[in-house]
């Protein structure tokens, strides 16, 4: 506790740094996974190999990935850009499957009816498929968010500051309080972001909450 009282400005700064890595990585993952997942769902021939590739990608260890990425996209080795790119790779790999599952979970009868009353292919995507797939996709985004918050700490090993810096620094200098603070704040951050996503999900899918509730008013 005494360590924290003396160092909270630094913790706060690292917390902000942590968010600055997490939020863009999750955002980019969603932006990339949506079209990829849509494609995989529309064309199962492409989808099968794509999902297999995603699984393989997720299995690549973090440190080699952090070295390969600068080579591939030209970002500096010890930069937040490299870190965000690596996190996005993992995020997309996890999320593509949720997107495919989400679209797959949309009721066929509902899709058929929507087409029959005049939705265009674009209209189907934005007005029918995405909203109805949202609960499943959002479940995936929650997993990706929590896992990204954890993965960001690894950045400390290549010198990208985050709450993970508390862990490396604490270990090196043998300050237990610093390590504990790092762990606790990281976990708390993950829980808070997760709760925020749950709330956002409720706000975005009002029909799910109201299912079959309230008295049925007889008409006229």
């Amino acid at each position: 506790m005494t360590w924290l009282t003396g160092n909270w400005p630094q913790v706060l700064e690292l917390l902000v740094g942590h968010l600055v890595l997490t939020v863009p990585a999750v955002g980019l993952s969603v932006l990339l996974a949506l079209p990829l997942g849509r494609l995989a769902w529309r064309l199962p021939r492409v989808g099968g190999p794509l999902l297999a590739a995603a699984t393989l990608l997720y299995a690549v260890p973090a440190l080699p990935l952090l070295i390969v990425i600068p080579v591939l996209i030209g970002t500096p080795l010890r930069s937040s850009a490299t870190m965000i790119a690596a996190l996005t790779v993992y995020g997309v790999a996890l999320l593509v499957r949720s997107v495919v599952d989400g679209f797959g979970a949309v009721d066929r009868g509902v899709r058929d009816a929507a087409v029959a009353v005049g939705h265009s292919p674009t209209g189907m995507l934005w007005r029918v498929d995405l909203p109805l797939a949202l609960p499943v996709i959002l479940a995936g985004v929650r997993v990706v968010t929590v896992s990204t918050v954890g993965l960001v700490t690894i950045g400390a090993l290549i010198g990208v500051p985050s709450l993970g810096s508390l862990l490396t620094d604490g270990f090196q200098r043998g300050i237990v309080a610093e390590v504990v603070t790092g762990v606790v704040v990281t976990v708390a951050l993950a829980l808070i972001l997760d709760a925020a996503l749950v709330l956002a999900g409720k706000a975005l899918t009002p029909w799910a909450a109201r299912r079959a509730r309230g008295p049925v008013v007889v008409s006229r």
Binding site: D107, G109, V110, D112, A113, A114, V115, A116, V117, G118, H119, S120, G123, R127, V128, P131, L132, T205, P206, W207, R210, R211, A212, R213, G214, V216, V217, S219, R220
Partner: protein, 269 residues
Amino acid sequence: MIEFEHVAKHYPDGTVAVRDFSLTVPSHRCVVLLGSSGSGKTTLLRMVNRMVDPTGGRVLIDDADVRDSDPVALRRSIGYVLQSGGLLPHRTVADNVATVPLLTGATRRAARSRALELLGRVGLDESLAQRYPAQLSGGQQQRVGVARALAADPNILLMDEPFGAVDPLVRRELQDELLRLQSDLGKTILFVTHDVDEAFRLGDEVIVLRPQAEIAQRGTSVEILAQPADDFVRGFIGADRGRRSLRLATSGGRQVAVDLEGHAVGILE
């Protein structure tokens, strides 16, 4: 006017849903397709809005082959009440009714007031407008389906067993409303049902279908009842079991129509 010219539908698995079907549905008329399950009624209906493309023959709307029209624009111009209701579960009742106006770029305000007007027309209270379909009873959902089909003020209405999922009383009420709507609006209606009474009540013309959409008989309810074409039709409308036979009894100086078991069904004026 809708014309079916020798349409056929063969599915790749070998199923023949429609063998060779021709029919003209005159403008401002209600024609009912009456047939048992699997006789190809839904298939025929969906050929009109290109949800099914025939494998033979063609469908014309006002002399234009539907195959030459853009399917999305075509579907928006035709009101379709689906067999299963087919409301979008994530849209409020008002938004469901306003589906086509919203798709064709009406302002939210205009779409909303149109939706409320239509809810009134099909006998639903405005207070239901902000509910979701899952919060409605089956009969209310079917009314919403009818309101949605009317929203863009289409000339043509396709109605696929629209009152299937409700009890006989509500069904009769919905039929009354449709008859009232039809006398107001004069749409060209192609109506599908397997309920003989419903077909006779609503149809200016009734088409009795055998499997593979073969026409067993066509005519007004009076014609079909008076002269069933064959045993199939007789069986389908229940004439063979005496269900359609009435006789007159006199009681208190009035003539009462009774069925063969002696139950009163009405009074002769």
